[in-house]
């Protein structure tokens, strides 16, 4: 099986707040993690392939959204598992990859 690629823009081009409770149309990090990321992550782990997250195509991210998604996943599953399976692609904002990796390590 090939690596799995997940496009954040297919969730929303306007990623918003941290928690779901902050609004129905908040496009929150919590919602993205639970509905999009975690199922794909499990699938990738089972198949022993990488889950590649393409973060391009949105109008921009907030710290709270990124931290909730990737820091949250790291708190739930452990940073070693997350770092082993997740990879990131970005042509628009390559510096965000370092930020995200830091959120995973700091979680």
């Amino acid at each position: 099986m090939d690596n799995i690629i997940l496009f954040v823009k297919s969730f929303s081009i306007t990623p918003g707040s941290r928690y779901k409770e902050e609004g129905k149309k908040a496009h929150s990090g919590e919602e993205f993690r639970e509905v999009f990321l975690e199922p794909q992550f499990e699938k990738a782990e089972k198949a022993n392939v990488k889950l590649i997250i393409n973060i391009d195509g949105t109008i921009g991210y907030g710290t709270s959204w990124l931290e909730e998604v990737f820091g949250g996943l790291s708190r739930k599953l452990g940073k070693d598992r997350v770092l082993k399976t997740l990879e990131f692609i970005s042509v628009e904002e390559p510096y965000l990859i370092d930020d995200i990796n830091q959120y995973i390590k700091d979680a």
Binding site: E67, E93, Y95
Partner: protein
Amino acid sequence: MHKNLKIGLAGTLGILIGFYICIIIKKYTVLKIDPTISFEINPFELFSLIVTIILAIYVARTLSKANDLEKNEKDLLINYLTNFKNEFNQKITYLLEQVEFDSVITNSNFKIIRKKIDTIISLSVEHKFIEKNETYSNELINKVRDIWELFTDTPKKANGRSTAAVKGDIERLRLEQVNKIEMSVIEIEKLLFKLTMKINRK
């Protein structure tokens, strides 16, 4: 007719004066002009002349062109930094006026701000105006990231339903964040100045 006669007389008088002055100079001076011209070619002097001409053309065309190009690149880069500073201040002032800091508008503005400073620094490195891991540029990138984090991880303003204590705490936290943001903006201006000076000295 009377006027023409005057001009004619003045002209004749001028010619006569010139003629006699010429005779007097020839009679009383030893100034002589040799009607022949000697023409000699020294091969070393000729070689030196050719080298000088080639050097003059090289300096004028190649070196001056390279210097002009470098100066233009430097001016352009400094211009980018100045524009960035103005745009950055403008955006930060606008964002600080917003009720909610952690919003889609903030995310969008910071995507542009971070992309812009990253591009300017990449161009400066690419054109060898600064080193790849230059201290000021690294600090600048980190400071912009800090401000982005401060903006997008700030508590929302207290709403009408919050208790007085919660409202007070949220307002205090927000004030702290605003203060940190403004301090970081000053730091960024300082770093931009230092970076501009560094590029200018190149």
